[in-house]
Subunit: 494 residues, 2 copies
């Protein structure tokens, strides 16, 4: 057995443990009764320790060195690169830092669940300071190992190859046109008469509609299922993808759009190449590319007029309301393309969403680089919310800088993925349009060519090439934010 093969075997074992952790974590969110939590958390922590020990086994350094000298195919070389990336990420942190972080984050996140509701910035910031301090130590260590700046070293874990220099340029451009675009769209929409559909929409009917749409969007129920959890997510493993949603009897669109979003994530996972199953090179390219698939399904595809023409009668039929004027294609289109600046990121429309991300990016970048401190966050948040979205958040920490779980969890460097995803998605759609008449295909309910394009250019590429190359090979160019701008102008001002 070659050393490359030994490394493959090793990583396939790790993937098997990840498989069980994934399913148990899904269970924890979607199935587990509350009294099971303490023992479950301990059991999962034990598995994490075993996985970490395996992932950092001392003999791996030599195996990597010897594997590099072996004769490998192009794909095997990519595979080796990805294995090494995973190894380096796991290996670089000292065990006591990992443990301290785990404790600080779990303390901070747990307290945050109460503090957020109490608007208790003072209490929260005490815990967050500890998390930031440890994250800075982590970033410094990762920075030394990679040669990247501290923040970039964190970013690199979620979006390999992305840097704050690139993001600064991208987001500086967005900031030149986004506020004006929002104003123009708001003006254009002033006289739209949008009806809010009035519930109740029974949950079993919402579920039936969700399953129907998932089927139409090609979700493979032989390899996945839909359930309910407090915070919707896409989990499980490629052969068994678990997506969740949360139903609200008063409003069916939020669960439905959520399901479509998670279906995009799911199809990426279900479409990953079997040949590379269980290896890092066979996993999703990055968080941004993952988000591009969910946003392609949700924003590019399903909020298009032609798709809503399909969705609306399905909804009307499922809820037995064929005469409900709120469920016409026209009204559902108005509803699903309504633009309104708001406090909450997860509730934001696709036009104002980038503003939420840029704000968070600018704050967390400076925080990790040591240019600002935790105490500076509220003022910066207020200033930027006012500047980007014209909203006043002063004193409202609950719906301001305390709204997201990311920072309390210690996930710094993740936020940019959301807007990168929106940009990638728009760029994929623009490229697809050069090859086929997408609008006609949707009208004809012939989605297969669209899915085939994504499968060929994104899903089956997994991590076989880096993000730049994936974009160039599929769209003819590197990341170009103009496509998102064009999409927004065309949909909202066209």
């Amino acid at each position: 057995m070659t050393f490359y093969q030994k490394l493959e075997q090793h990583h396939k074992k790790l993937a098997k443990l990840d498989h069980l952790a994934s399913i148990c974590s899904w269970d924890q969110a979607a199935m587990m009764p509350e009294g099971g939590n303490a023992a479950r958390s301990e059991a999962m922590a034990e598995l994490a320790v075993i996985s970490h020990e395996m992932a950092t086994a001392p003999y791996l350094a030599e195996w990597f060195e010897l594997a590099h000298r072996e004769s490998l195919s192009q794909e095997e070389k990519a595979s080796l690169t990805e294995m090494k990336r995973v190894w380096r990420n796991a290996n670089v942190l000292p065990a006591d830092l990992v443990e301290e972080q785990s404790l600080a984050c779990s303390t901070c996140e747990h307290a945050w669940r109460t503090q957020r509701g109490n608007n208790d910035w003072q209490g929260f910031s005490e815990n967050l300071k500890k998390v930031v301090e440890l994250t800075r130590r982590e970033a410094k260590i990762r920075s030394e190992a990679t040669g990247l700046s501290p923040y970039d070293a964190l970013l690199d874990q979620y979006e390999p190859g992305m840097t704050s220099a690139k993001l600064d340029a991208l987001f500086a451009d967005v900031k030149t046109w986004l506020p004006e675009l929002i104003t123009q769209i708001r003006e254009k929409q002033t006289h739209d008469e949008v009806m809010q559909p009035v519930g109740p929409f029974p949950i079993d009917e919402q579920k039936a509609l969700s399953l129907d749409i998932m089927q139409k969007l090609g979700f493979d129920f032989h390899h996945g299922r839909l359930d309910v959890s407090m915070h919707p997510f896409c989990g499980g493993v490629p052969t068994d993808v678990r997506i969740t949603t949360r139903y609200d009897e008063a409003d069916f669109t939020s669960a439905l759009m959520g399901v479509i979003h998670e279906t995009g994530h799911a199809r990426y996972e279900q479409g990953l190449p079997e040949k590379w199953a269980g290896l890092p090179v066979g996993t999703a390219r990055s968080m941004g590319i993952h988000e591009s698939q969910s946003l392609f399904f949700e924003m590019q595809l399903s909020r298009s007029e032609n798709f809503i023409d399909i969705l609306a009668p399905l909804a009307a039929e499922t809820f037995n309301r064929i005469d409900d004027p709120a469920l016409t294609p026209e009204n559902l289109t108005l509803l699903n393309t309504r633009v309104a600046p708001g406090y909450i990121r997860v509730d934001a429309d696709e036009v104002t969403y980038p503003a939420h991300v840029i704000l968070r990016y600018e704050i967390e970048r400076d925080l990790i680089e040591g240019r600002i401190e935790v105490a500076d966050i509220p003022e910066l948040w207020d200033r930027k919310m006012h500047e980007y979205l014209g909203l006043n958040t002063k004193g409202n920490f609950t719906d301001g800088c305390m709204q997201d779980i990311h920072w309390p969890m210690g996930s710094f460097g993740y936020f940019p993925s959301y807007t990168l995803g929106a940009m990638y998605a728009a760029q994929f759609m623009a490229a697809m349009r050069k090859e086929m008449n997408v609008e006609n295909l949707i009208r004809e309910r012939n989605f297969q060519p669209i899915f085939n394009w994504l499968d060929r250019h994104v899903w089956k590429r997994a991590s076989l090439v880096n993000t730049d190359k994936l974009l160039i090979e599929s769209t003819g160019e590197a990341l170009n934010a103009q496509h998102l701008k064009d999409h927004l102008i065309s949909r909202y001002l066209g």
Copy 2:
């Protein structure tokens, strides 16, 4: 840290891995889409290997030796004995056999789910041969390690202390009176006019009724849940017990009685002593004692006339059929105490049930001892079914020798536990009756004293004493099959 403490810590780690395996195994039966099976089986086999490696770590032999010399409390001594029993059981098998078995059983069981419906004995027997071959290897190794016969060495894992010599004697006795008893009961019941309730009984109403009864029987929903699987079982962990059932729209009693049965298992698990959580001494005493709890709930308690007086109006109300003459207490009592030889063990009444078990015991004992082969099973099955229950099963593998999940799963030596359980349950009830008026308590819907008795004498005893001692301490005598015979005569001929 003493060596005893080190052993405790080690076993608590093992229990954490078992926790995850339990949940993933429940998921596999109750949630997983079929396409997820191959990868899941491999992932679980990997975890089994890791657990096995941990359970057989070379330093344990020395730890056990040193722990034996330490000063231990009575309970710690029992704990050490049980840890050592688990260790011996695990240690004796080579890792490659364990992995081969895990894979072969998982393959056989998965294929069985389809093959059984197709009456495909040929296809099934090919997989089963492999399972039997590996089980014989296992039995031989265990036999050499314990000095027991190969079959007894398997039996000992489920029912420590039990032997085929004891079973042969017990079952020989049962065979002297059971056929005649069945005939007498059948004659007595000839003129009973039993009405079969006519469906449909909507599944959501059956589920509501099941949950209601579980609540009344003290199931703790903060630490467990009810779901659906093809083959009902009780899984999960004591802090999160997962029971399953299977609903039939045409017949609500089978799911309901199944739920009551599993609730008995669940209460044992939920009632195990927290102080010993994660240690072998804190787990259920044996499969037979486990079954005694499910059968106590199902047979001793819930099929009693007084309990059916509670059950019947609840069912009538849930199904909105208060005037249905098939749902009166009188008719439901007749229905739930109806004795009729049938093909299916899990559908059998408590009188004919032991015949099903004795048949399986005799076949699997001879199979493991090498006196017969897989190919001989159908003919033996047909002959014994004819002899014990007067039924013809020729060519009907689906409802014959392919009906049970045990053999495909590689669980040989398990079947006797069912009838031992019925015997223990009858013995517990007889002892309880000496301390309280059980029938009055049920009439008054005051189940708590009954549960308290079980909690004190069985649940909280876990594996702190062996089965003989548990029986003697709780009932004043060792296993005595006369109590089952008395129970059957009293209920069915009284």
